[in-house]
């Protein structure tokens, strides 16, 4: 039982990271109907932004304090929001009216470009770098369970961001416009919504969430390197599909589900070697039996 609860807590922490990334995939899919392959690389850039920000901020705020960690996360999110908007503006916007295959190939190209450019010696290099501990490391003992301060941090931040996102999407003008575009783009444009601005905003929002996820992922990982985004990115994508792509609560639910399942599989010796295959197996099963995902609506194709 203890083992079960311990794994559940670990899984929830990992799952909230996946959920944050998955929200970016699903939001972009909602407005543009394509999968932003470069999203996982934006997450990686978030981790690197924090890596370079931490020593700079140490001059101003005490390092390894909650305040400096918060400042680093906010700044990394802002940087990634700008990067996300730039990617959309430079690579995806010119292809808005082109076949979907062209956009898909471009997205793969952008992802490869970020990865290979960052791996080059002149930028980050391919070597793994140790990531600073942004918050005080402590293990809390709760009824025989040990909970790390990183895990508590990621759970609190994710809960806060989910609430914030829900408020933005449901209550603000931007959020209403986002939902309008996802519902019917031409009609939204006719109602005076500036499509380009909303799409840009969506990319910014998704990329900021990815950056936060990147920082927390880096804190759990042994270190950071330019390809660190690929595996969590694929899992988060799976999470978005499992929850029903385009559906925000679905993405959060899917993320937590994948995180928990993966952690449990990692704890079982026979399955642990196949850890990388598990998310894909779930993805394939979901796509075969319920392609619209757990919370998604089935779409009827009109000609």
């Amino acid at each position: 039982m203890d083992w079960f609860l311990q794994q559940l807590i670990n899984g929830l922490a990992l799952g909230s990271i996946y959920a944050l990334i998955a929200l970016g995939y699903t939001m972009v899919y909602g407005v543009l109907r394509f999968i932003n392959f470069a999203h996982s690389d934006v997450m990686m850039l978030g981790a690197f932004a924090a890596y370079f920000l931490a020593p700079v901020l140490a001059h101003v705020l005490a390092s390894e304090s909650y305040l400096s960690a918060l400042a680093i996360i906010v700044l990394a999110a802002a940087i990634c929001a700008i990067i996300g908007m730039l990617i959309e503006f430079l690579a995806y916007r010119p292809l808005r009216r082109r076949p979907k295959l062209a956009v898909l190939i471009t997205a793969i190209g952008v992802s490869l470009l970020i990865e290979s450019a960052c791996q080059h010696q002149a930028i980050f290099g391919a070597a793994t770098r140790p990531f600073p501990k942004l918050i005080p490391q402590r293990d809390y003992q709760l009824a025989g369970l040990s909970v790390n301060s990183n895990d508590i941090g990621v759970l609190i931040v994710t809960a806060f961001l989910l609430a914030l996102l829900w408020w933005i999407v449901q209550r603000t003008k931007m959020g209403i416009a986002m939902r309008a575009i996802s519902f019917n783009e031409p009609a939204a444009a006719l109602m005076g919504i500036n499509i380009n601005r909303i799409i840009s905003f969506t990319f910014g929002l998704g990329s900021a969430l990815a950056a936060v996820a990147g920082v927390f992922y880096a804190m759990r990982a042994p270190g950071i390197e330019p390809l660190m985004g690929i595996q969590p990115g694929l899992r988060a994508f799976t999470a978005a599909v499992v929850g029903g792509i385009g559906n925000l609560p679905g993405a959060a639910l899917g993320g937590v589900l994948i995180g928990v399942l993966e952690t449990f599989a990692g704890g079982i010796p026979i399955l642990s070697n196949y850890r990388d295959g598990i998310a894909f197996s779930i993805l394939i099963l979901i796509l075969l039996f319920k392609p619209s995902g757990l919370l998604g609506k089935t779409e009827v194709e009109k000609v």
Partner: protein, 302 residues
């Protein structure tokens, strides 16, 4: 490439491969190696072009099929030491085709982005399986595979691949591939089963990828699961995109150029993937029909 002349082309190419391979003992070993790489890449690119280009199904798992073909063929050669080398090639191809069928039947109900990511996933799963199976040497892979790949077998297979893919696409049956690419709903409406065509393209493409993998295994004499990752698939995809999706001649030229050029630019190897990705983005923005395509097809040009 014209359908009517394709048999003549095939015979000419086979003849040329035979003549060249007769003199191959006199060639520099390094150039010989590069030439075989060119042939293998032509097979991979032309077979992927059937899936990605002609049928319009964006697959990112070609390296996985290559791995299946390579590993089974190498294991077969190591176990039985067959007297006739093409038997290994055939077995590699058939196993890859079987893998293509197993992957294709469930995943080809999906489209576009989903298909891309599922094929990517299958490619990775195949790699993880090889990495964990003791029969195939686990992470170290297979070593000491006899060096059986010759210039003749490579270019002979390449010629057959080009012939089969071209004749298939240009046949009455093969028009279905293009039909599925251009409009799946319309294809279904006139009685062409998109899934059947997609699976056919997948199985044929996987077969040749498997043969290419078998040639590769008997050329490099070692097989390591790590060599068949996502980046290997992307290499092949870049050849297809650069050559122009659905244009066999362009794809062959792209395969040759992208194999030979990196050999000359070894000191810039760290820029290779950066250049590839910029090429992909640039081509999609400016010239989606590919770099090595001179003449646009009038029929079926999308």
């Amino acid at each position: 490439m014209n359908a009517r002349n394709s048999k003549k082309w095939l015979l000419a190419a086979l003849g040329a491969a035979l003549v060249i391979s007769y003199f191959s003992a006199q060639f520099n070993r390094y150039y010989l190696g590069v030439a075989i790489d060119v042939g293998i890449n032509i097979i991979l690119a032309v077979s992927l072009n059937l899936i990605n280009g002609h049928t319009g199904q964006f697959s990112l798992g070609h390296a996985g099929f290559m791995a299946v073909g390579g590993f089974t063929a190498a294991k077969f050669t190591l176990l039985t030491a067959p007297a006739f080398f093409p038997l290994s090639l055939l077995i590699g191809g058939l196993m890859a085709a079987l893998a293509g069928l197993l992957v294709g039947v469930p995943s080809l109900r999906l489209r576009g982005d989903y298909l891309a990511i599922v094929t990517l996933g299958f490619g990775e799963i195949i790699r993880v399986i090889f990495q964990n199976s003791q029969a195939f040497g686990a992470a170290t892979g297979l070593t000491g595979i006899p060096d059986l790949t010759t210039l003749f077998w490579t270019f002979g297979t390449a010629a057959i691949t080009v012939y089969v893919v071209t004749s298939l696409v240009n046949s009455t049956y093969g028009r279905g591939f293009i039909c599925v690419r251009d409009d799946e709903v319309a294809a279904a409406a006139i009685g062409i089963s998109p899934t059947r065509y997609k699976v056919t393209a997948f199985v044929v493409g996987a077969f040749f990828a498997g043969v290419a993998g078998a040639l590769y295994a008997h050329h490099k004499t070692v097989m390591q699961p790590d060599g068949f990752n996502f980046i290997r698939s992307i290499d092949i995809v870049v050849m297809v995109i650069l050559g122009g999706m659905g244009r066999t001649t362009g794809v062959i030229i792209a395969a040759v150029v992208l194999t030979v050029l990196p050999e000359f630019l070894r000191e810039f190897a760290s820029y290779r993937m950066i250049l590839y990705s910029l090429l992909i983005i640039g081509l999609m923005l400016a010239r989606p029909e590919g770099l090595f395509t001179i003449r646009k097809r009038t029929n079926a040009g999308a």
